[in-house]
Assembly symmetry: C2
Homo-oligomer: 333 residues x 2
């Protein structure tokens, strides 16, 4: 009975993509607390603030489940999982400086509470902590994957910043941006998990492709929801990205639509982001079939993601990753 | 003849604490260029800007010479040396955001050219690159030391920021700040170099104490020169730190001097930093013997530093580190 209740809870949280009730993730949560327990003063306050703000914990989830497919050894996966979330937290803290965001996960962002100066240092501390954990456990391969993830994120954020309000942004550039910003990190988490328990090179490659496609689907979904979702779901104001000049997939397609390109171009170039205009943009995206096309793209990536799992050993954890892909789709359906 | 000329050049550069003409450091310089060669776009531009701005390269110097005392194997030391400078560069880029500095090494700072947003990402990229190099070479011990250095620097910068314009700042707090900000990094460089070539635990500890005391002497000297040195030597405006509210050793002693404490307190609290006032502060520091006391403290740390070398194997490289300690002193004498 208790188990069923717990399963129901997990089921319900799946739909919100909140994985904190999964037993393995509860372990990670404790370890995250432990990781920052030796910090002091303001750094400690900042770390606690970030940790308590919660989050989906999708990166440690991917590390752990990608590893458990190949070996039932959670202990081996914990340091990499914890590091992946610390690096994610660090990048969020720094991204909020870059994007001048005042809210994060429905709470004030670190920069809005402590100022940009402290936020820079808080992020640096979390990066260092993550590498400290990996170094102390001798996890060189995980470290390589995490370095790749950070380097990609830096490039992705810069591409994003440089391409703000650029109505000529191509779909290729968009893919480069979301790969660097999001998908490569998820790929690296899957690869780090699998390689930490000794999966073969081919297996690491396959699980990596799963992570990459899941990440692309995830980011495109996020971009759709940001543009036309409700602010309660996202925990941030509607169309926040567009208001900041970030051109996402649906907007790129609308910019290529002959009938409406001059309208959307003038919206972006003149920064007309009142509620009425945003509603009109969303209605156009539906009417023109662009939203449908974006949903289909998400679906295609999720199918690609799942196909990469096919050749991997059968297990509960593989099934979970299949389900996870479906869950991403249910967010927009 | 050529050698003598080169030696003269090194000699001359010693006095400026510029070590780039030392053959081993030339190798490091090439390797630094190589390290950033796979970066792209704006990140590449920022990396090139930082690299070309130059610097003393004292951290790679300490890594290399601390290692060469124990084993003549430069190759083994290069990755750690390169990483130490990349981490130093990253921390400078982030510090300039924290301190709102517009100049660095007589050139515009990264934040002043590319803005805070890109500077955050440029620094993150350099941190990641540094750990990538260490991970690819399996240098776990070096990684541990570099993590310690970064965590300390974050704490040090936060202590500094929190204690700005605080006339109650104690000498203990000042030591905590400069240890965290500067000296622990130099300690870690020495330790990482020695441990990379297999020095014993005791030897690593001794060379670490050398680095720590050299670092303390170095920072106190820097603080003296910032307060009363000429702007040509430092490449930044005179008394820049005081103007920013950073209370250093000489100022702390002046704040404790009964005859002058009310004057200096009112200077700091009312932020009266015109040229005349600064000149008066400097003249008071000399008249009261405070500058002399600070010089003596520098001397004490340098003697402590040298004493730690005594038990280490005799070598040209150990002699060099002795000389290096003397060179720090000649900056203020």
């Amino acid at each position: 009975m208790e188990i069923t209740k717990q399963q129901l809870k997990i089921e319900e949280n799946y739909n919100k993509l909140d994985f904190t009730s999964i037993p393995q993730l509860k372990v990670i949560e404790m370890e995250l607390l432990d990781a920052i327990s030796d910090s002091r003063g303001t750094i400690r306050e900042m770390c606690n603030h970030i940790l308590k703000a919660g989050g989906k914990r999708i990166r440690p989830l991917l590390v752990v489940f990608s590893g458990l497919i190949f070996e039932q050894n959670l202990q081996k996966l914990i340091p990499t999982a914890v590091s992946s979330e610390l690096i994610h937290m660090a990048s969020l803290v720094h991204d909020d400086i870059v994007d001048v965001s005042i809210m994060r996960r429905n709470k004030p962002s670190i920069n809005s509470v402590w100022g940009n100066n402290f936020a820079v240092l808080g992020g640096d501390y979390l990066f260092a902590k993550a590498f400290g954990i990996l170094a102390s456990q001798g996890l060189l391969k995980s470290m390589g994957f995490m370095v790749e993830a950070i380097e990609s994120m830096c490039h992705g954020e810069i591409i994003q910043a440089e391409d703000k309000f650029n109505c000529e942004c191509s779909i290729e550039k968009y893919y480069e941006k979301i790969s660097c910003k999001t998908a490569i990190f998820l790929k690296c988490c899957c690869q780090a998990g699998a390689s930490a328990v000794g999966a073969s090179e081919k297996e690491v490659e396959l699980i990596g492709e799963y992570g990459l496609n899941l990440g692309l689907a995830f980011q495109i979904t996020d971009d759709i929801l940001d543009l036309c979702g409700s602010s309660e779901i996202m925990g941030k104001p509607k169309s926040e990205d567009l208001k900041q000049g970030i051109i996402s997939m649906p907007v790129i397609y609308l910019l290529k639509n002959r009938a409406h390109q001059s309208f959307i171009k003038s919206v972006i170039e003149n920064k007309v982001f009142d509620e009425e205009t945003i509603l009109k943009v969303c209605s156009l995206l539906t009417k023109t079939g662009i939203m449908e096309k974006c949903y289909d793209t998400v679906k295609t990536h999720l199918e690609k993601a799942k196909r990469n799992l096919d050749a991997l050993p059968e297990s509960y954890h593989k099934e979970f990753l299949y389900r996870l892909a479906d869950m991403v789709y249910t967010r927009i359906n």
